[in-house]
Amino acid sequence: MKDFLTLYWHHILEAAYTHLVYVLVSVAIAFTVSIILGILLSRVPRWANIILPLLSLFQTIPGIVFIGLLFLFIGIVPATIITALAIYAVFPILKNTYVGIIEVDESCKEAAQGCGMSGFQTLMQVELPLALPAIISGLRMSLVYTVSWAVLAAMIGLGGLGDLIFAGVGSNNNYLILAGAIPAALMAILCSLAIDLLREVLIPKPIRLDIK
């Protein structure tokens, strides 16, 4: 066990770092895209009824297929995995942003208008803040899923913690499997705890009580 760690610790650290970078970059991209899209869709709910089911259908495409195909077109560059991960990460945030905004109480919006707020002001100062709990729980889902999907980066030669898992399975080495799997599991759990923390900080108590 100790021998194993001395032999592999720098591999593990490097793999974990690569893994985390893929996750953060792709979720950041997905977050930006889905907030904008979510706001746009909330203005035209009719479209949302078509676009959201289509996107949810897309989510059922297995990662190995999508990443395997994308790899044919883009090649072995980080852009391949980041694109794939970002696309998978969009749906939960987008859906929650949309639903969060749509479900804002009509009376709140009317009150805002009554105060003389423009449509944009209502969005920024009323709708988005009220939708924040939903948006954050979407973000959390995306983040956790992305840590999971990022294991597949190793499949197309892009490293990350999957590298150790794949190598361990291929060479019948249990330590290697665990050396990839345990940090990946920890990373997912830590990410979800970090979001919980973010929630505590960002969301004012009254709203939190309201949604509980």
Partner: protein, 304 residues
């Protein structure tokens, strides 16, 4: 009210069914059990075993689920399987965790592993004739451009080339691995990619990799039109294909198949690397059925 009870009864029945069907049956006196392999070569050899045994003896051969070779080996040692297609080099390194350096001077790798494996109750039958060792594959353009013939020819141009192999070729333990190999030849590649064995050929064909590790008898080598460079300094050990069998199988099947060992050894020396590339090409690329290819081949050799 009773919905819950009904559901509980159905669940329990289901679990019981699973538990019963999940249990392995006792060793039968007339059936040989094989866990199938994941790649064309193993499937072909297993199918040939089935055809030959059922043609020449009263015994039956049951080919079960595909499992990874390591697990097939575990089942063999446990006694739940009887035969698997294997290689002396794999038995040495992956299963027995030994190294080619452990083989005594005056002994072949094949004889050495057979001696070492004896206490596990398994042994290798006659060599099939193919040597499915690691090989270094490059594209034809690269061969023509630099007049490559051997692995040593790669040394001066390695810093312009991207090398790729499956993940387990890069582990720190063992000798048939990337680091010791690169050090042995003095190869310093521009970039090294660890990618999945299924995507290796795709990456190679689309020009993402210049040099890659392949298995010498893989039918996809022909499809990708890659040239195998000669391992001129003899780095990789041999991986002679041979059937790995449980020793007690012959006794158990004595009544139905008294000459089982001779029947199985009909496969000995029947193959070359080229023949196996051909056969697995037919399965993997031309999508012929494993059974048809196996039968064709045995018929062409006059064994059926």
């Amino acid at each position: 009210m009773s919905t819950v009870k009904k559901v509980a009864v159905v669940l329990l029945a289901g679990l019981l069914f699973l538990a019963l069907t999940g249990c392995g049956d006792a060793k039968s006196k007339d059936t040989i059990t094989i866990y199938d392999g994941q790649f064309a070569e193993m499937k072909l050899i297993h199918q040939m075993v089935k055809l030959l045994v059922e043609e020449n003896t009263e015994a039956k051969v049951e080919i079960l689920d595909e499992v990874a070779p390591v697990n097939s080996y575990k089942e063999l040692v446990k006694g739940t399987a009887d035969i698997m297609n294997s290689y002396d080099g794999t038995l040495l390194t992956t299963y027995l965790h030994l190294d080619p350096d452990d083989v005594p001077e005056n002994m072949t790798l094949y004889d050495f592993v057979n001696e070492e494996a004896a206490d596990k109750g398994v042994r290798l039958l006659d060599k099939l004739g193919l040597n499915n060792t690691y090989a270094i594959g490059v594209s034809q353009e690269l061969v023509e451009e630099h007049d490559l013939k051997t692995v040593s020819d790669l040394v001066p141009i390695a810093d312009q080339l991207i090398f790729g192999a499956e993940h387990d070729f890069f582990t720190e333990e063992g000798s048939a691995k990337f680091n010791p190999f690169a050090k042995f030849y003095g190869l310093d590649f521009k970039e090294v990619k660890h990618l999945d064995i299924t995507l290796k050929y795709t990456a190679f064909e689309s020009g993402e990799l210049d040099v890659m590790i392949v298995y010498a008898t893989d039918g996809l080598n022909r499809k990708a039109q890659l040239t195998v460079l000669e391992d001129d300094r003899g780095y990789f050990p041999e991986y002679n294909g041979a059937l790995l069998v449980r020793d007690d199988m012959f006794e158990r099947l004595e009544e139905v198949a008294p000459d089982l060992e001779e029947v199985l050894n009909q496969l000995g020396g029947l193959f070359t690397d080229e023949i196996m590339v051909d056969l697995s090409y037919r399965v993997d690329v031309e999508k012929e059925k494993v059974e048809d290819v196996a039968r064709d081949f045995l018929e062409s050799k006059g064994l059926l």
